[in-house]
């Protein structure tokens, strides 16, 4: 696949420099796979209103399009009609488009200057795939091509059975604008943004997505410069002027393309200190040494808490020395993570356990029975891998029993 070399034109409202800021996060996953309303993450974000300043908020939901499970759902933002026409011409060229419609919205006070919002349910045109090119690689290339060279068009999300809903406003405003209360999903992540300048650009809000991956992020990635240059080597073009984007692409690179197991990908992004590595048993030590030497340019340095959503669950991760808040809880089948405990207790008033994840230790929530989305050839069944990841036997037993059924 050819790397993208064209520069993306900048919007008039967009800041020409990297945007810094603080943020609030939430992530809620029902491990039983039961779907719940988008009103739930809105409530969880609403109590974290102080963590944003009304200049960006967004959500991503999984399991929201059961009627289109095998289609790539493109959520598009268009600056103008011309951008829409140019993009749709590309869609027609690359994909079989089974449904194209405006994203349903409702008028909400405080939400202004929305771009044209459309969604498309598409499948790649098999005749357009290069030899040995996967559907996913094809879609990644399409996303990069639209985001960079098409003037005024921006892909908000492009995964299967999922979607991102984001814009300029406070979380409850954006959530209600997109009518999230009318959707149901098994996993939701949410974000509230406090940028230190006023770009007012909808595409700059979180979550950032690629394929099924969606990322919400609180913090600043001080290593953005090298992370983005590292990703360019692999054909990713960081064109959105925000450091969160690199986290999404790094997960895609390591999990999907390099087939690294999720816990190791987390370790590569937020690795233990050399002192700790030296004290590890030999096999583990050598793995960690290799991860740091090979993925050093991808290490996310600086303060961050991120939640990665995917079809089948979510992962929450703190930076290697825990410089940003992140708290986790479990209540029944619900796994909740957020920047503040209040955001968790709004949804789960009496969780069985609440804990502060350690620096660099991922919190993993898995929807039982769903295929593990990481196609690592680890000589393990997905069930075994999930046990390895969770370290919990009950999940193992449940998954095994499901397989027997």
């Amino acid at each position: 696949m050819k790397p993208i070399t064209l520069e993306r034109p900048t919007y008039t409202e967009e800041a020409p420099y990297k945007i810094h800021g603080g943020c609030g996060l939430t992530g809620i996953c029902d491990e039983s796979g039961a779907r719940f309303s988008g009103e739930v993450p809105i409530r969880s974000m609403a109590v974290q209103r102080d963590r944003g300043n009304g200049l960006g908020a967004g959500f991503a939901g999984y399991g929201i399009y059961p009627e289109f499970p095998d289609h790539f759902a493109f959520h598009m933002m268009y600056h103008d009609i011309q951008a829409k026409e140019e993009t749709e011409a590309l869609f027609d060229q690359w994909f079989v488009v089974d449904l194209a419609e405006p994203l349903p919205t409702r008028s909400v006070k405080g939400v202004e200057d929305a771009p044209l919002l459309w969604r498309y349910f598409v499948t790649p045109d098999p005749s357009k795939l290069e030899e040995e090119q996967s559907d996913e690689d094809f879609v990644v290339h399409a996303v990069m091509t639209i985001n960079a060279p098409v003037d005024g068009a921006f892909v908000a999300s492009s995964g299967k059975d999922m979607g991102a809903f984001k814009g300029v406003g406070f979380p409850q405003e954006i959530g209600h604008y997109y009518r999230l209360d009318e959707y149901e999903g098994h996993t939701w992540i949410g974000h509230n943004r406090f940028p230190t300048n006023t770009p007012g650009w909808w595409g700059g809000a979180h979550p950032f997505t690629l394929l099924d991956w969606s990322i919400v992020h609180n913090g600043e990635i001080s290593s953005y410069g090298i992370n983005s240059r590292y990703l360019e080597q692999f054909g990713y073009k960081c064109s959105l002027g925000t450091d969160t984007e690199v986290a999404a692409y790094l997960f895609d690179l390591m999990l999907r393309r390099h087939r690294l197991p999720l816990p190791l990908a987390c370790k590569a992004l937020a690795p233990p200190l050399w002192d700790e590595i030296e004290r590890m048993p030999e096999d583990e030590r050598e793995v960690m040494r290799a991860l740091r030497a090979v993925y050093g340019p991808g290490m996310l340095n600086g303060p961050f808490a991120i939640i990665l959503g995917f079809n089948g669950g979510m992962v929450a991760l703190n930076d290697r020395i825990k410089l940003r808040p992140l708290i986790a809880a479990k209540q029944g089948d619900l796994v909740l993570v957020a920047s503040e405990e209040s955001a968790i207790r709004e949804i789960a008033p009496e969780p069985e356990s609440v804990w502060m994840p350690k620096a660099g230790e991922p919190v993993v929530a898995r929807v039982r029975g769903m295929e593990w989305p990481i196609h690592g050839d680890l000589h393990l069944t997905p069930a075994e891998v999930s046990c390895a990841v969770d370290g919990t036997e009950d999940v193992c037993e449940i998954v095994e029993s499901l397989e027997v059924v």
């Binding site: 360019e232 690795p271 050598e286």
Partner: protein, 503 residues
């Protein structure tokens, strides 16, 4: 006519009221400045301003001044140029010099500034938090391949992971300086310091003296066009092997160590007869093309049991394409030597007029290797006047994995940059083989000073990382977003891949 019409550059001024008449100045001076007859009588024409006598005068009675001779002003014909013409008119020879290019070309490092954290991301507290400098020198695979260990964990697949890499405690190594150009005591100091600091020294092209065998795990053994001291044991003994193609101070030029410097020890180490001139050809006569280089790289790997093999080149106009070829030829690291790099001896005209700055070379090589998707296949070592930890941090931010220091290491050992290494009479006992001079460097003393220098720069690099909010050096490496240009034109900024300050 007088023997020469060239006036001395310096005046040796002695305060005879303070002078003890002890004669130590005459004893210390390697250049023969002093005639001692009841009191020291200096010959200004011989002084190199190396301050050896100044340092060792017990009465602090000596000072060296610039010979303030007025010349008719000319921005075109500087006094230096006039002196050079006179000298050549008198001798008909090629002007020789030591150390690196001293001309006033723009110092790009001095036009680059680093970022720092304020509010939106916390800086790292140097007293409480780690800031890791560990660096691996060598080829890295594209990805890490693991398999389940059957117990919920993972282990590397057979043959996967990072092999044939050298672990460095900090991204600083010592540049190649051959035994012959510098003394054995200097070599010992470098080897001991490299071992203590967890880094590497480099033999240069003069072979490895037996006294350095205990430190061989911290030594890069060089294979240069003269093949001095190269045999299978030598190749197997070092931590890595380096093919020297060129040197920043004299790109495209070979070397010449005069026979009088080839004493018994140098002769044994270089494996050449005592008293013969050691001539390094300008090219390797078995490398006339990139495919020849590939064959030598793999011959050396075969001969050494697959030690990492690096290739050192001078930074020249087409350095990006050359470096790319070197990486594709199988090198584990590319050593780039900028046009300010030092030397034991080089024609002045070559030293001062050939090659390009290291800052540019790092930027274009790093970018080219990334464009070609092979950046991970080799490390970049950058040298050619790394003068401080500021230069070190900027070199790394531009894209270097490791920097190499030569002149700075010699300065740590007392060098005053008098640019007279080629004379073989270094009063500080560094670039000489005269036993009465070489014994001035005690290897233990030298090792301590060199270790201190490396540790000091490492601490300073940690301070810089902390201010940048980074706790590991790999997050600075190639992160040009953290650099800004001050007073650079737009095209230079573009070539360096940095924005101007204010953007």
């Amino acid at each position: 006519m007088p023997q020469t019409i060239i006036q001395p550059e310096f005046n040796v001024v002695i305060d005879y009221d303070k002078c003890h008449k002890c004669g130590r100045c005459a004893q210390q001076c390697g250049w023969g400045v002093y005639d001692f007859n009841e009191r020291p009588i200096p010959d200004d024409t011989k002084c190199k301003a190396c301050h050896r006598c100044v340092t060792y005068c017990p009465a602090r009675a000596i000072t060296i001044r610039k010979h303030e001779l007025a010349y008719r002003d000319s921005d075109n014909w500087s006094p230096q140029l006039r002196r050079a013409v006179w000298k050549q008119a008198e001798t008909g020879g090629v002007m020789l010099t030591g150390m690196g290019n001293d001309k006033s070309y723009v110092h790009l490092f001095d036009h680059l500034v680093l970022d720092a954290c304020q509010v939106t991301n916390p800086s790292i507290d140097p007293l409480r938090e780690p800031r890791e400098l560990r660096t691996y020198l060598g080829r890295k695979p594209d990805s890490v391949e693991v398999e389940s260990d059957g117990e919920g964990g993972f282990r590397l697949q057979e043959g996967a992971g990072v092999v044939n890499n050298i672990e460095l405690a900090t991204p600083i190594i010592f540049s190649p300086m051959s035994y012959g150009s510098v003394s054995l005591n200097v070599h010992k100091s470098l080897a001991m310091a490299a071992t203590r600091a967890g880094i590497l020294m480099n033999t240069g092209e003069g072979g490895l003296h037996a006294d350095l065998f205990p430190y061989a795990d911290h030594v890069i053994v060089q294979c240069a066009s003269g093949r001095f001291g190269v045999d299978p044991e030598y190749l197997r003994r070092g931590a890595a092997i380096e093919i020297k193609i060129g040197q920043g101070a004299k790109p495209g030029i070979g070397g010449h160590l005069p026979g009088e410097k080839i004493d018994r020890e140098v002769s044994t180490t270089r494996m050449i007869p005592q008293g013969t001139d050691a001539l390094s050809p300008a090219p390797h006569h078995d490398i006339y093309s990139i495919e020849d280089l590939r064959q030598l790289i793999y011959s050396l790997k075969e001969a050494s049991g697959y030690k990492p093999v690096g290739v050192k080149i001078a930074a020249v106009h087409n350095v990006a394409a050359i470096a790319s070829g070197i990486v594709r030829a199988g090198a584990d690291y590319v050593y780039l030597d900028g046009f300010r790099g030092g030397t034991g001896a080089a024609p002045t005209i070559i030293r001062d007029n050939l090659g390009i700055p290291i800052e540019v070379a790092i930027a274009v090589v790093d970018q080219r290797l990334r464009d070609e998707g092979i950046r991970n296949q080799a490390s970049i070592v950058a040298a050619g006047s790394i003068r401080s930890s500021g230069d070190l941090a900027k070199a790394i931010a531009l894209g270097a994995d490791v920097v190499a220091i030569g002149t700075a290491a010699l300065i740590a050992l007392g060098c005053h940059v008098c640019q007279s290494c080629h004379t073989g009479s270094c009063s500080w006992g560094l670039t000489t083989q005269k036993p009465e001079l070489t014994r001035r460097v005690d290897p233990e003393w030298g090792a301590e000073r060199l270790t201190n220098l490396v540790n000091a720069w490492s601490h300073e690099l940690q301070e810089i990382l902390g201010a940048l909010g980074l706790n590991a050096v790999e997050s600075l490496r190639g992160s040009r977003e953290r650099l800004r240009g001050v007073g650079l034109d737009a095209q230079t900024c573009e070539i360096l891949g940095v924005k101007p300050a204010g953007r």
